[in-house]
C-alpha cells in the first residue's frame, strides 16, 4: 500500500527544520532509527544545497516535497525553481580543514539512491532507500 504526502516549504534554514520534522513524522514508523536518521540527514543536505546553491539564499522561494512510502521503498522527490544547482556543485573532495563541501558525500552515504536533475524550468532531487535497508 503506497502512501503519498506533500509539503511545501520556503527557502530558508528554519523551514528545512520543519521539513525534517515532517519527514520523521512519516518515516519513523516504517524504518529503524538509524535509517530514519540517515534519510533525514540526506534530506537536510539536499535542501541545504537547494537553499544555498539553487536559490543562492534568496528567501521566500518555494520548495516542493513529495514523500512516497510503499512496501518496498521510501522515496522523496524535491522540486525547486532555482538555478545553477544540479547536485554537482561540490566537485572536489574537501580537505580535512575545509569548512564546507561534505553535503553530497553525506547524501551518497545515507541513501540507496540519489539523483539530481536540472530540467527546463525546475530542478528535481530524488532520494530513496529500500525498506529492507531500514527494516525495524
Amino acid at each position: 500500500v503506497a502512501v503519498t504526502e506533500n509539503l511545501t516549504i520556503l527557502s530558508d534554514y528554519q523551514s528545512i527544520r520543519r521539513a525534517a520534522g515532517w519527514l520523521r513524522g512519516h518515516i519513523d514508523r516504517h524504518v529503524c532509527v538509524e535509517a530514519a536518521e540517515d534519510f533525514e540527514l540526506a534530506t537536510v543536505e539536499a535542501l541545504n544545497n537547494i537553499v544555498r546553491h539553487a536559490y543562492r539564499e534568496e528567501p521566500e522561494q518555494p520548495i516542493f516535497l513529495t514523500l512516497e512510502l510503499n512496501d518496498a521503498a521510501i522515496m522523496l522527490r524535491i522540486v525547486d525553481h532555482g538555478d545553477g544547482y544540479s547536485g554537482h556543485s561540490e566537485t572536489h573532495e574537501p580537505t580535512p580543514l575545509d569548512e564546507s563541501g561534505r553535503g553530497l558525500a553525506l547524501i551518497a552515504c545515507c541513501v540507496d539512491h540519489a539523483m539530481f536533475e536540472q530540467l527546463h524550468d525546475h530542478n528535481v532531487t530524488l532520494l530513496s532507500i529500500s525498506v529492507d535497508r531500514g527494516r525495524r
Partner: protein, 113 residues
C-alpha cells in the same frame, strides 16, 4: 544562545552546546559565539556536544572552524557525541581530524594527565 560556558580555569575552557540541532540554521551563530569565548581561552577547549542529536555538514563545518580557531593556542576536544552526531563525523571521516572523548570527565583526565 548556542554555546554555554560551563567552566574555565588557567588550562581549560569547557563549553556546552545548547541546541539539539547543529545545522545551517545555527552554524553562523555557533561560529560567532565560539570566536567570542575562544578569545579568553587558556588553550585547551572542551566542547560538550551531548545535547546535539542532529549534526549536518554545516554543523561539521562550524566545528572545523572551531578547530582552526583553537589550533594555534591549544587543543579542541569534542565530548559526548550522540550516535547521530558520531555517525555524521564518521561518515565524513572527520573522526580522523577531531580529538574525541566519550565524556568531559575523560577529556579532563587527558588534559591533566
Amino acid at each position: 544562545v548556542v554555546l554555554n560556558k560551563v567552566s574555565q580555569d588557567n588550562r581549560v575552557l569547557i563549553l556546552c552546546a545548547q541546541h539539539t540541532r547543529l545545522d545551517a540554521a545555527v552554524a553562523p551563530q555557533f561560529r560567532e559565539e565560539f570566536i567570542e569565548f575562544s578569545q579568553d581561552s587558556p588553550g585547551t577547549i572542551i566542547l560538550d556536544l551531548s545535547a546535539v542529536t542532529f549534526l549536518d555538514s554545516s554543523g561539521l563545518g562550524a566545528l572545523v572552524g572551531a578547530l582552526k580557531r583553537t589550533g594555534p593556542r591549544g587543543d579542541l576536544l569534542l565530548t559526548g557525541l550522540t550516535p547521530a552526531a558520531n555517525r555524521a563525523v564518521k561518515l565524513t571521516r572527520m573522526d580522523r581530524v577531531f580529538t574525541i572523548y566519550p565524556d568531559t570527565a575523560t577529556a579532563l583526565q587527558h588534559v591533566e594527565g
